[in-house]
Symmetry: C2
Subunit: 126 residues, 2 copies
DNA sequence: CCCTTACCCGTACGACTCTGCGGGTACCGC
DNA sequence: GCGGTACCCGCAGAGTCGTACGGGTAAGGG
């Protein structure tokens, strides 16, 4: 057989400890569904753009990201469905902004992370 | 044609503002590659488990997650390749732990996020 | 010394994801 | 009102990801 379930834990104490306070599959799935939404270059950049200027319409958003409208439209659809962005329709233009209940720490963290990455990719000569 | 690039930005000022300080595709890809690694229930739970008890071998890890060894093995392979976890071999048992340079804020954020999710999924009746 | 255990790897396949395309609706300008 | 604009949707195809499976290696126990 391929992968056997070993019945004799090497360190049963630690296993029990971890198992007890580990998030269940459901909770983990909820967390990862949010993470998955940010784990895409287009969507991430959409969120960054909306974080800087409060509001942008779809066309301008595509312009700012230098992406085509299809990609941006798809990204917005998923973000909207998940409730991460809200939209306001004025005439034939639809403006998007970050939803009120947007996970603050996630946004903050990503911005900081980005700064770190930027610094790494541009090592200062001294 | 399907999606036209509208050449007349509705709000050119905001577009320019966003475009200027927006992360490039490369930087965004770097960030999202890390995010993608956490955006999977198995991998996320592996990291949580390793965060609680410093060290666990593969079999015990599968036991703690109540997952089969294939899934855990694959998760560890990706995390190891990305340098997020380190391993130590003792006899025929391989112990894994979080890598030294593991992104602190990400871990911290995810833990907090999980708490929020847990509270939401159990709405208190009043 | 052989058999089992603990783990790793490559492959194949199903499932999901993203993109591009065609077409549709609502709205504004002429 | 007619044409064009701004956006949305559904669908088909390509690509990617995770899982299951078979097999392989190194170490330890009887």
């Amino acid at each position: 057989m391929s992968e056997a379930e070993h019945a004799h834990p090497v360190d049963p104490e630690r296993v029990a400890h971890a198992r007890a306070r580990l998030p269940g599959r459901e909770e983990a799935a909820q967390l990862t569904s949010v993470l998955s939404l940010m784990a895409d270059p287009t969507r991430a950049r959409v969120l960054f753009a909306l974080d800087m200027v409060e509001e942008l319409c779809v066309g301008d958003l595509a312009l700012a990201l230098e992406a085509n409208e299809d990609a941006v439209g798809y990204a917005l659809r998923l973000l909207r469905t998940a409730g991460l962005v809200a939209n306001r329709k004025q005439g034939r233009v639809v403006y998007y902004r970050l939803a009120d209940g947007f996970p603050e720490p996630l946004r903050e963290h990503c911005l900081r992370q980005l700064i770190v990455l930027t610094e790494r990719s541009v090592p200062e000569e001294e």
